[in-house]
Amino acid sequence: MRDTPTIHRPAGKFRDALIHLSVDTSGIRACVQCGRCTSACTAGFLASETPRQVVRHLQWNELEAAVGSSFLYQCKQCIGCTVQCPQGVDVAGVVQALMKARFLTLETK
């Protein structure tokens, strides 16, 4: 029987640095949390978190929570959120970057 690979993520500063490299969080400061991205999202309520909450994590600088958000597994990159955002935040771009960061910080043993 094959061993199930244990997934473990690098922690601490190294991981944060990796995320910082891939996610540009400057744009999300404009977000007023109106929730239009969620209502525009084709996967809006499929996951336990909504795209708005992902952005909120980033506003609080909770990178762990953002990268680990269940929403990232549901996003189909339809860019409805970016199109609908009244403040011009590229939500889809941020989510995509988070997906990349998640991928970068995955490590198989």
Partner: protein, 791 residues
Amino acid sequence: MKKPTSRIGIFVWDPDASLRNSIDLDSLLNRCRSLKNVVCCEQAEALPGSDVPEMPVRDVGDERPDRIIWVGHIDESRYQQIRQTLSRSGVNPYLQILCDLKAQGVCSPSLDPNVRARKAATLLKMAVARARLLEPLEPLSLPGIDTALVIGAGVAGLHASLSLLNMGFGVHLIERDSGVGGKTALLERFYPKICDPRCGLDFVCRQLIRSERLSLHTLTTIAKLEGAPGAFTATVFQQPRFVDSARCDGCGICQDVCPIRISGHSRYFQDEAPFPTSTGLSALAKDACKAIHPAMPMRIPTAFVIERDCCPENCDACRTACPNGAIEFEQEPREKTLDAGAVLVTTGWDPYPLSRLTEFGYGIHTRVIGNLEMEKLLKTSTVNDFKHVAFIQCAGSRDNRHLPYCSSVCCSATLKQIRYLKEQSPETTCTVFYQDIRTPGFEEDLYREVRSLEKVTFVRGLPSGVRAQPSDGSLNLTAEDTFSGKPIRIEADLLVLAGGMAPSTQSTELARTLNLPSNQYGFFEAHHQCFPEESQRSGIYVGGCARDPMSVAQSIESSHLAAMKAVRFLREFVQVEPTYPVVDKGKCDQCKRCVEECPFSSFVFDEKQFPEPVLTRCRQCGNCMGVCPLGAISLRNRTVRQYAAAIEVLETSFMNAREEPLILAFLCENDAARAAEEANINGIPVPPNVIHMSVPCAGAVNNALIADALSLGIDGVLIGGCKDGQCHYVRGNQLVRKRSGDLQDKLKTMMIEPVRVRFESLEIRDSHKYAEVLKTFVQDLKAIGPNPFKI
């Protein structure tokens, strides 16, 4: 004829002996006595005022001074009192100057006594040099016209007119529609009292039409505005009414016989898309009316108006029916000229075109309406048929793709509509989707009240679209409740979009006709905090929503303010301070830079194409004086020559060592100069190396003066002005920085380092920053060494 020589009197006011304690005052006065043109140099025992009406002069005989330098620290208000008292006893107020040694830092205890004495002597020399060149000036009176031109007869225009008429002035009231009232007359209710706005409007209109000095021009737009404040001439263009106003008595017989029904004043809904009428909403919104109809929105004036474009060919039903023979199909558009002393712009707003919000399907789905249409719907009984009404706030406002600003009234308007709706049909469910509810001040009461109503839910989260059921047209909305992160799904019968306020289309036209600058959104503003009613053109004042989005109450308030300010140009004589700029036509080479840079567009050309300021337009900021490459323009009491003369006598050697740099600071008298005075008087350690001169605006500093100062051996020049966007003269601080580009080339040819000229933004209480700025400037100057021109 021999030019009379100036006789300068120097008076020292030193009640607390602070000057005497810090410098050898007697020897200073002795030195001053020997200066050319100085006839007396004394210490004043008392200041002129109510007790001492005369100049404190002893034993000067025939040599009575005709110009006075006050030395010492005198408060601004006290100084003005002295000026006025002395002007009554024959000394022109513009021949008196104040040389405040304390504010220049002479009394600073840390200063070397020798430096102190030399600095004081230099400052006095500079004052004397300037005083020699002062000229007596008398205030000017120019004729004004006691009639104002008010553009736009909405709630703001009507109130402004009433206010002016009550003060005894005449008013030309221009309105592009057939009747007065504007947008407010279209509302069903207005907050906070939830009463009918027609009541208040009617009250004002009744008073207005009683006045003989009001001339109302309906169906009129302004085509051209010429002249200056106090003497404007407007060319207006009046569309034909096809009804003789003098004969029509408004009986309405014509309306009964008219065969044509039209959709009414569609202009208020801006959207060209025809409103769907399939769902019993046909009674809604667009007033169905006949081709001949009463004046709209309010029936003032009484005369009816014919929409001639809609008339069928050869129909004269109304003409034959009219008992007074008032119908005149032959009327032509007319051009009129109106004279006015001041212009009030109250052109209001237009609703933002909701069809641009494609996601909400306005104009496509039959049950999606705007908030203005909701006002109309509230009037009808149809409103009771709806069981669930949804409201979407910020539809078009606070959105980078539409209107980036908050339209400020939509929240309260929606709350008002809900309250009124619930009064009529308490069973209706209301859901409000919002991102923030903005109810400043007492409007919060309305919010609290509506929140407490049954079946009213506020959802913090905006839907991003709407889906209509093909069967019955009901609407499905989904949004995120951002507090819980849970989806909210509702089915509504009616969706009301709280659309935003855009500047009126007439404002856009006016901006061109009146050459009136507007802000990035198209509203007219000059200095929003300090002078909200002013536009960037003197004599043109702005009230109501033409200025910024505001409620009815604020519109009324702002229009009264605008009317109040306009009074200055409506009197028999317009008073002008004699300190206006004068162009030396012998020097001027007609480069027209002054014309371009004047923030208030004050310059016109005389018959020989020389620029000439229009005195009533000018706000005397001196930016023309600063920009003129030939130094040909000077404010009358602060000429380039006076500044140059003062700089010329500035002794660069007053500091002990040659290595100690000397800085000349030109400071804006509105803020930077105050900060500097404050710093020195309050004992904040300001480097002694600086001598400051106040200018009316940082933009008034001419490059020639800076070059002069540097070529005379002054090590550094500091220009202190306002922060960006805070300048009372719009952008004087930016102009001076723009010009510094040209100056740098000039300095390079003079072999002077461009870093010797520095611009700093200083606010009125930035005394500590002023000291810091100077400290670093002194260090930097020490590092690059003394000015090569220094002796």
